[in-house]
């Protein structure tokens, strides 16, 4: 114990200095926030003016998927990137043998999972005029997935990698596809043609919500599925490499 206390004492000098620095920095930034005049207009006016042309009624959804849809396109990529990174790092640590699932837990999952899917669908649909949208709906879907993972359902272990990958890529790929087809139709990336914006946004949101849900579930699973990388003694994979060596 005394050793630990000693070490902490020795570190204190540096920590105190740092604490002082951080406090100074925060105070400085705080005073500057106080000096900034309050009357900057922001972009609320611009959004309100163009709201009618965006195809949705909720201003946040309009900004996310129409006015600044390009940001959201890249953001969906960031989510997918996290999954690729996690899969490249580790295998999912599924338990070696499946323990018995208590019927109560099973029943709760059976009841909750469809309910959560319903709530997610509602949130996505509601996103066009109230609070909600792809990410909130996707998060609920992800929560349903996490619930199933926690219950350790035996069939989760055997999910093949390809359908999972298709599900993960579905949203981003559809987003890019819609963006490109808009480019060909109207000459602008993500410039939705007249009158179709509402439907296209709903389509993108639905696909992205599915992908976001799967993404969050895979992030929670903490690694790639068992059969994600082809076996090294797979004949079709090994032959070309064998020739060269």
């Amino acid at each position: 114990m005394s050793k630990i206390r000693n070490r902490r004492k020795r570190l204190d000098g540096f920590q105190r200095l740092l604490l002082l620095l951080v406090i100074c920095l925060t105070t400085l930034l705080g005073t500057i926030i106080l000096t900034i005049p309050e009357n900057t207009p922001g972009l609320a006016g611009a959004v309100a003016r163009l709201q009618e042309r965006s195809g949705v009624e909720s201003p946040v959804t309009a900004v996310l998927l129409n006015f600044r849809g390009y940001d959201t396109l890249l953001e969906v990529m960031v989510l997918l990137l996290a999954v690729i990174g996690v899969w490249s790092l580790a295998k999912a640590p599924f338990p070696q043998q499946v323990t018995d699932i208590s019927p109560v837990q099973m029943g709760v999952v059976r009841l909750l999972a469809p309910l959560m899917c319903l709530v997610a669908a509602y949130l996505i649909w509601q996103g066009s005029h109230l609070a909600g949208g792809a990410f909130q709906g996707g998060a609920i879907l992800g929560a349903a997935g996490v619930l199933m993972l926690v219950t350790e359902l035996p069939w989760l272990r055997g999910i093949p990698a390809l359908p999972l990958r298709i599900g993960l890529v579905l949203g981003p790929l559809l987003f890019v596809g819609v963006a490109l087809s808009c480019l060909f139709l109207t000459g602008n990336l993500l410039g939705y043609p007249e009158g179709t914006a509402g439907w296209l946004i709903l389509l993108i949101e639905a696909a992205c919500a599915i992908s976001v849900g799967l993404t969050l579930t895979s992030l929670f699973a903490g690694g790639r599925p068992e059969n994600e990388i082809p076996d090294k003694h797979h004949p079709a994979d090994h032959a070309p490499n064998g020739d060269r060596s």
């Binding site: 949130l123 909600g132 990410f135 909130q136 998060a139 929560a143 969050l216 929670f220 903490g222």
Partner: protein, 109 residues
């Protein structure tokens, strides 16, 4: 009148948030810190509602508290598992001996 009540609520919320933040960053026990972080996220959702940002509140409640918390917990249990595994391997005399025997066999062959 409503103005002052709302301001009182604001001050209360802000103080709670700051206190939670200080606690969760300062406690020795990481598990406790994660639990505090989840409650911090839920209170944050309240703050977003107060700031008239329901979209952000929904996202924070679902993503910030609802998913980040379990992510932390699963990572914590994974870390503890490996640490325990190491300790078991370390202290378990028999297993260590087995390993050594295996290695010796490998060396002789």
């Amino acid at each position: 009148m409503t103005y002052s009540i709302l301001t009182l609520f604001d001050i209360l919320l802000v103080l709670t948030l700051l206190w939670l933040g200080r606690r969760l960053l300062g406690t020795e026990d990481i598990f406790k810190a994660v639990v505090l972080f989840i409650s911090f996220g839920l209170l944050m959702a309240l703050a977003w509602v107060r700031m008239r940002a329901p979209d952000v509140a929904l996202a924070e409640a679902a993503l910030g508290a609802g998913l980040t918390g379990p992510l932390f917990l699963s990572a914590l249990s994974r870390m503890n598992r490996t640490r325990k595994g190491e300790r078991r391997l370390d202290s378990d005399e028999n297993r260590g001996k087995e390993h050594e025997q295996d290695q010796e066999q490998a060396q002789t062959t």
